[in-house]
């Protein structure tokens, strides 16, 4: 089990770009992930001063839980391999199994 090291700016870019999330300003920024016109998940990312820091492990773990992803899947989402469509497939599979 490797350490979950993700850059804040990288994850925010991935969530906004790939999943179309819109984070509001505030101490903790939250956004809804919608599918077929329904709010499915709510994701909160911490406000990062300076923008380029690494997300701390506890926060990364919480975001991973909110996104309903495994560690590797979150890494893939933050980096290039997992696209928005791939994530949608993961969510749909979980919805089909009544997990979401």
């Amino acid at each position: 089990m490797g350490k979950l090291i993700i850059r804040s700016s990288q994850l925010t870019r991935a969530l906004e770009g790939k999943l179309g999330l819109d984070f509001r300003s505030g101490s903790e920024r939250s956004a809804w992930y919608c599918l077929d016109g329904k709010k499915i998940l709510r994701v909160t990312i911490p406000t990062v001063k300076g923008g380029g820091g690494t997300i701390l492990p506890g926060t990364a773990n919480s975001i991973r839980n909110q996104l309903s992803l495994s560690r590797n899947q979150l890494r893939e989402l933050a980096a290039c391999p997992m696209s928005g469509t791939d994530y949608e497939t993961v969510v749909r599979q979980k919805m089909a199994k009544n997990r979401l």
Partner: protein
């Protein structure tokens, strides 16, 4: 006899390795069978019937050579053992760093009960159980049933932020059309409606 004297004057030699030099005949036979270096002044093969006095230097050189061989053997075995030990040490080191990494990512967790939301608009109908996870560089407060979390440097700050997050989620769910909510958000809404009420709704004791 000279041979006997020499034999017993060489205590470092093991009994098993000690040459059997009892009689002249035995010495003759032994020397006849052994290949001695002629350069050392020893005939490679003794003359028949001629007794060759046993020299102390020869015994010593043989003993030193045997000891050296034993030392070389031991050094080789020690080197092999050392190599094994180093390999084991490398494995232990690797496991230790893995464990350290795991420990760094594994929080110290505990449960805390919230009695209040620190909000002028809302209050809790009943105490709320949340999880506190202390990591090396942050403390995370979580309310897993509604998948809400807040992170801060200290436990108190994290709890304060979590209360705000819970209120914010409650408001968002109240404002949302139930038809627009997925399965989980609907569950959160039901749960939070059971736990939270507007401050005006409460029956204040007079």
């Amino acid at each position: 006899m000279q041979v006997h004297e020499l034999q017993f004057r060489w205590p470092p030699m093991d009994i098993a390795e000690r040459p059997c030099l009892g009689t002249e005949e035995e010495v003759e036979n032994l020397l006849a069978d052994s290949a001695l270096d002629p350069l050392q002044g020893w005939p490679s093969r003794p003359l028949k019937g001629q007794f060759i006095p046993f020299r102390e230097e020869h015994v010593m050189s043989q003993a030193v050579s045997a000891s050296l061989n034993r030392i070389v053997d031991r050094v080789e075995s020690v080197a092999a053992s050392l190599e094994n030990a180093l390999a084991l040490l490398a494995q232990v080191q690797e496991r230790l760093s893995e464990s350290e990494e795991r420990l760094a990512t594994q929080p110290i967790a505990c449960q805390v009960t919230l009695h209040d939301l620190d909000s002028e608009l809302y209050r809790l109908r009943q105490p709320l159980c949340i999880c506190i996870e202390e990591y090396e560089e942050e403390t995370v407060a979580r309310f897993p049933e509604a998948e809400v979390y807040a992170s801060a440097a200290t436990e108190g700050e994290a709890i304060d932020l979590l209360k705000r997050e819970i209120v914010q989620l409650y408001e968002e769910l109240q404002q949302a059309d139930p038809k627009e909510l997925g399965r989980r958000p609907k569950q959160w809404r039901t749960l939070l409606n059971r736990l939270i009420e507007a401050d005006g709704q409460a029956d204040h004791p007079k």
